[in-house]
Amino acid sequence: MDTNNLIKTATQVRRDIVRQVSRAQSGHPGGSLGCADFFTALYFEIMDHDASFNMDGKNEDVFYLSNGHISPVWYSVLARSGYFPIEELNTFRNINSRLQGHPATHEGLPGIRIASGSLGQGISVAIGTALAKKLDGDDKTVYVLTGDGELQEGQIWEAAMFAAHHKVDNLILTVDWNGQQIDGPNDEVCSLGDLEGKWKSFGWEVMHMDGHNFEDIIQTVNKAKTVKGKPVAILMKTEMGKGVSYMEGTHKWHGKAPNEELTNQALSELEETLGDF
């Protein structure tokens, strides 16, 4: 997909996020909007994946979302790349829906391979699938996204140590580095300190990218795929709430739904490019 179409798709994904959260009057718009460009690049350009969906993900790239609360962005790209009907986005967070507040396999939603939401677990899971791919001689890649506040969880660093020791080089971690978490900026809640230095000292290759620049995202991930002998962490700078002016750059919209007036304002800033659900 060319950059213009990626931008168009990401704009619609942002509309989907706002409309899902607004409809449910519940959910996490801030981080979802901030990662809309990354998810669009992954699902519409970078990953070799099969929307007919096989749980085992053999011979295809596999993506895990560790910070499960940004489910609206994932549901939107999954629906728009053919995993399930776009209309189903109407059911987000409703009773009897496959679109749970946090992603789950329990209701059988295609595209989801593990439940996430309780933070810190996704890198471990991604390592497991990456090891299985190596055992099976499958040369595809395993991607995992974490939040930045999530890096305060201890299990993250257990996984970091393991992946370097076992040279899990078919694994690409992206950190959504928006600098915000529920209670405020990372630096006020519990500083991540020298984040690049931390990953490097654990034995990872570290790259940086601008999470709102498609060319940079695609180039950086492609470069990450060429690294051999160690796992790669991409520190992705994003802006929380990106695309909705009043949500940008603040933690206040981490887990809050806009009212009708603010929903309309948000949608007026996001063109309907591919047709609403």
Binding site: Y64, I114, G128, T129, A130, A132, D136, E158, F162
Partner: protein, 317 residues
């Protein structure tokens, strides 16, 4: 018949796990093992020597081990995690709950050194709450085999069962007495038929229950003795049939009374056939350092305790 259950050897249940996992290594190429720095204690060295590429040393990082196992299972492998029972459950409950149980992953959580019989290391390591934690998780199968033979057979059987399993076993050398070929997941074993009292036991306590039953029979008490290796799903039929014969029951387990097998059985009986019941279990306390047999005696889990519980419950009929 009680006379069928004679001690033929003395081996640890964890050795049965090691032997079972080694056989699985040979018979099922999808089986992989993980360990959190306790290879020697879990008896899996033979598997590692023969199938090194299918073993993952995780180091002292049990939460990571559970997540990796979930990811391996997602990709079609059958992972067996191995560490002490304490670190297999309480330490990693949230990882098991979200990444394994709720996500329906085919992970086998294999846990050694459960209960008081871990011995000298003391209460920090003697987990007595693990069965309760694991049986509460939807979809989790919970198995607590009683001797080397049953642990080996259970290890092999759970690889064929699709879904998460908690397999609990222990540290000490223990009588080997179960005939081979008697294990089936979810199916209790009728070891003796009787009419005066039902005695149901799981794990190490099955041998003590056999010994208690022998003494009771010698004194003229007819004992209906059942070996419950699978705590969940529970074989309700074998228990209801037993109390229909005896009208009273004793449950013996190396676990807290709250959350244990006895509690599950009490629920079944309360619903279907309220029956006088006595519990031989740890009563809301932590353990301590000591020799396994001394600890079982101090905390009310001796052969004599099963015997006196039987006398008490018969008197309540």
């Amino acid at each position: 018949m009680l006379s069928n259950y004679i001690q033929t050897d003395k081996k640890a249940t964890r050795d049965g796990f090691g032997a079972g996992v080694y056989e699985l290594g040979q018979s099922n190429p999808e089986v992989v093992t993980l360990c959190a720095d306790l290879v020697g204690s879990l008896k899996i060295q033979k598997f590692i020597d023969e199938f090194p590429e299918r073993f993952f040393q995780v180091g002292i990082a049990e939460a990571n081990m559970m997540g990796i196992a979930a990811g391996l299972a997602t990709a079609g492998k059958i992972p067996f995690t191995s560490t002490f029972a304490n670190f297999s459950t309480g330490r990693v409950y949230d990882q098991i709950r979200q990444s394994i149980a709720y996500s329906h992953k085919n992970v086998k959580i294999c846990a050694s050194h459960a209960g008081l019989t871990l011995g000298e290391d003391g209460a920090t390591h003697q987990i007595l709450e693990d069965v309760g934690m694991m049986k509460m998780l939807p979809g989790m199968t919970v198995i607590n085999p009683c001797d080397y033979n049953q642990t080996k057979e259970a290890t092999i059987a759970i690889a064929k069962h699709h879904g998460p399993v908690y397999l609990r076993f222990g540290r000490p050398g223990w009588p080997v007495f179960m005939p081979e070929g008697s294990f089936e997941i979810g199916k209790g074993i009728q070891m003796n038929e009787g009419t005066d009292v039902s005695i149901v036991a799981t794990g190490h306590m099955v041998w003590y229950a056999v010994e208690a039953a022998r003494k009771l029979e010698e004194s003229g008490v007819s004992v209906d003795l059942i070996n419950i290796h699978t705590i969940k799903p529970l074989d309700e039929e074998i228990i209801l049939n037993s109390v229909a014969r005896t009208n009273c029951i004793v449950v013996a387990e190396e676990h807290q009374r709250l959350g244990g097998l006895g509690e599950s059985i009490a629920g079944v009986l309360a619903k279907n056939n309220p029956t006088p019941m006595e519990f031989v279990a740890v009563n809301d306390t932590f353990g301590e350092s000591g020799k396994p047999s001394d600890l079982l005696e101090k905390y009310g889990l001796s052969i004599a305790d099963i015997n006196s519980a039987a006398q008490r419950v018969i008197a309540r009929k």
